[in-house]
Amino acid sequence: MGLKEVRIHGRGGQGAVTSAQILAIAASKDGKFTQSFPTFGVERSGAPVEAYTRISEEFINRRQQVYNPGYVIVLDTSLIGVIDVTKGISEDGLIIANSTKTPEELGLKGAKAYSIDITKIALDIMGKPFVNIAALGAFASLTGETSIDSLKKAVEERMGKLAELNNKALDKVFALAEDLK
């Protein structure tokens, strides 16, 4: 069926839900069917948040929650230890973590893991730690599930005035991830 599932971990206010939506918009620009939704509930600033994106060549029928994602993005690695970010990840899965530490130092096991200091790039370019969209640059590079061009178009569509700097950060993270491959 070729269904791909992505889980994005963040804290309330970091924009995990927005980035899952942007990923869905981008994938649809690549001609794919998508679904994007958060863990439904009461949103609280700082609390652990999970958001999901499904990507498929065909219309997606299933509506159950995401239990076995192929890809996990961790926007805030202070969540590691609070919750199990690797839970249910498929055997050939891939984790992208925003951190200055290596995946080994973060204790990320059971899947292929990459870490990039996305916060630094966001601070350099935007002066603020907006990592949610920039992190998708690493996703595009390391998974190939969406094109960087579609991502940038989706960011323009969704983020208005904030699109330009976000896309700059997105490009930078994409380039850094390319070097990790």
Partner: protein
Amino acid sequence: MVNIDIKKATVTEASVSVAWGARLSRPEVIPMYPITPQTHIVEHLAEFINNGEMDAEMIHVESEHSALSAMVGSVAAGSRTFTATASQGLALMYEILPIMSGMRLPGVMAVANRALSAPINIWNDHSDSVSARDQGWIQLWVESSQEALDTVIQAYKISENKKVMLPVMVNLDGFSLSHVYEPVEIPDQGKVDKFLPEYKAEDFLDLKNPKTFGPIGFPSDYMEFKEQQQAAMFEAEPVVQEVAKEFGKAFGREYGDGLVEEYKMEDAEYAVIGMGTLCGTAKDAVDELREKGIKAGVLRLKCMRPLPAERIQKAVKGLKALAVIDRHVSLGFEGPLFTDLRSALYETGLQVNGYVAGLGGKDIKIQHFEKVFNELKEGKKKGGWLL
């Protein structure tokens, strides 16, 4: 599988799709009161009106009871009207539900289905609308964002049909659908205008030609009114099919025949039937089971009232057993859909098992359907709660 041209689609929230369905239907009046998980629907309608993209009067009322009361007033005055609600909001409207249908006023209300308190719960199940099923509203249930948009437009055409003249509830699963972003094709306004012409009421409140709506019905006449309503409900069944067919021709999208959608039923020996998003997950379960050689299928009930009994009898021909999945329970008995369908299928002699699932947002998973199909295959009279 919904026929969407991905190149023409935009990715948006299902609530926004419902708002688009309403916008394209050109209601003149929208009485609104927000409640989770419906709020995004009326918020987007407010935005359309604010942007000058939609010409409708939004009435900010003080409760859902008032929202539906205002809808009764505006439809009685001859205006196409839209509102939306959920859960306790629908419960608060309850008094007005049979008044609107009893006065034979057409109109469309979206319900982003949510569990009823207590304990307080904002997540999806079908207890709000299913427990209101006897109040004379046509009930349509959708599975996807695109279907939600398309069904709102169809609902007006069904509702305003002279043979019907009954209000329609368009039900979509709260959160499980209402808050999901997915691709949707937004139809062209010109095409929608052609499909759904302006509403011209024959009977309406008019100062020059005074009339009374809903006056007292004495014991000598009340039952005759109800008999007419019952007849109109049954008249609605073929109208739902005709409208679905016409919509399919105009827009290229069909959801079964508007009453029931059949998935891999041609040679099915075992099937599940339910409403809303759980059927999408059931379809994927059926695909997996078929790879294991089990001839499984899904029936999705899109129209719960009127209940298309003969249509369902036809759809289950050839089945060895059927499981009904209720996302609601009639406390003290069983799932109401199970009661309905066992009654509708009594004369066929088919084994029907009843399951209650997904209350208060409990996830309904593929593995639940694996269990259900295994129990059907075992041929035993089983059922119960899927936890």
